[in-house]
Amino acid sequence: MRIVIIDDSGLRATVLEEGLREAGYDDIHIVPPRGAFVARLERMAPDVVLMDLGSPSRDTLEEMLTVSRALARPIAMFVDQSDEAMIGAAIDAGVSAYVVDGLRKERVKPVLELAVRRFNAFARIQAELEEARNALSDRKVIDRAKSILMAQRSLSEQEAYALLRSSAMNQGKKIVDVAQALITASDLLGGGL
């Protein structure tokens, strides 16, 4: 079974491809949805096409599936229209699948289930990365606020942090928000730091 993954994000495609290979599928191709990707896809004659539901290129792909003469049979979205739980899970995970008409659903279902699991795993990784990135920039903001306090009120680093934390607790806010407000105020007042 030839599987083509259309994906902009190299990482998600790799995560998916690895999973498919571990499960024993070896005819897997990754195509980014740019330029003449439609022509490439036609030459590959895939049995299954997997794509991110959020990709803006889905309309382009579907148009190609409609007009293509090279792809012998029409291709349908999802595996089994009656399997609503599966469809819901796929949409939630952001997976869209196009399957050559006539391919037995027992053969396709595991592929789709795997794609759903991997897309979900990828979304988790993304969320964690995003969180880490935010934490990093939060740290920078807090550090800058601390140095303002240290310079302007002659506090030690621990004292500056303690002051930020207690203000945050008193106001029911996050430390980073208090720190940001302090930086803004300091900038407005020409604090020079």
Binding site: G35, L53, G54, S55, P56, S57, R58, D59, T60, L61, E62, E63, T66, A76, M77, F78, Q81, E84, I87, G88, I91, S96
Partner: protein, 404 residues
Amino acid sequence: MTTNLRIAFLPLNDVAVLAAARERGFAEEEGLSLDLLRTTSWATLRDRLVYGQVQAAHMLAPLAVAVTLGLSQQPAALAAPYKLGVNGNMLVMAKDFAAALDPDPASRIADPLAAAHDFAAAIGLWRRKPVIGVVHRFSSHALMLRYWLASAGVDPDRDVVLRVLPPSLTVEALHAGEIDGFIAGEPWGSAAVEAGLAETVAVGERIWQRGVEKVLAFRENWLEENSETVDRLLRALARAAVWCDDPENHEALAQLLADPRYLDQPSDLIRRGLSGQIVARAGEAPIAHPDFMLFSREATPFPWRSQALWIYSQLVRWGMAEHSPENAAKAGGVFRPDVFRRALAGSDVPMPGASMKLEGAVASPLAVGSRKGDLTLGPDRFFDGRIFDPEQIDDYLAGFVQVR
């Protein structure tokens, strides 16, 4: 008790009524909380609606007809009781291509018939078959472009390449030289003009003076089972539409739509389409098109069955749908004036007495029969003067010269 509704949309100016209903309290007044879900492709918007992930969608009217006829992936009976807008599309072409047309953009736009013939001549001069971006096979834009090109003897399936791409990618594709122009809803045409990449060649309002655009689409069975909620939503939208139509509110509306949750585009570009101040070439003064886009006046939201049938006639014309009495009935049945009437019976919205009309027959503002209030229909002519009689689809189709 507040009812929560999930509605999918694409980032376009004509999501205005939904956005205003949510942001300006119209939905809240009806006890509704709207969860507006931005999507990036019509395919995904369609799937979310068909598979029940959202209750309603801001949908291309021809797509709603096509899904119901089983022409776009999983067939599903859809129902459109409310039109979210009329007009608002613009065809822009790369500056080099536009150089072969009438040099004055205003006169190009004012005379679509001459512009179509100039366009036909320009095709031969271009270095390749012009590649024109359309947002979807089943879009009002594609049907309008086909209609316009064919009037000058251009076969849209042979003489040009129609490339499907989502509105948000049009400007980038033009920049990369992948397309030579595109037809889309605003603010994307204005964005391409502003970037100095393209010029306006035609506006929808001059091709069909009152062209059907987006509808609010539901799954038919959900619509039937939730009539009370549907009615509340339609009432909220009708009030939001009045607010959106008022020129005094266009600035506020443009700023609201500029928000990253909606269009994430500059508000001054968005405002051009809303207020009909169209800049056709970068740096030039805007050209006034007061009917560029309508939300409320002239009973704009009323889903005339004849308009669904006009869409059907075009799908048949281009070989996309099979012509049969069953298909015609299904297509016409997508538009639901009965639901519109039920929902807005107690309101001050002018209510047309009929559900079908001749399309393209009104040359100047016309007072018509209305159950209540004064209703004046604006001019709705097609630029070639054809009139669509929904009872005579065969004759209408026979009247087009086959370009192939």
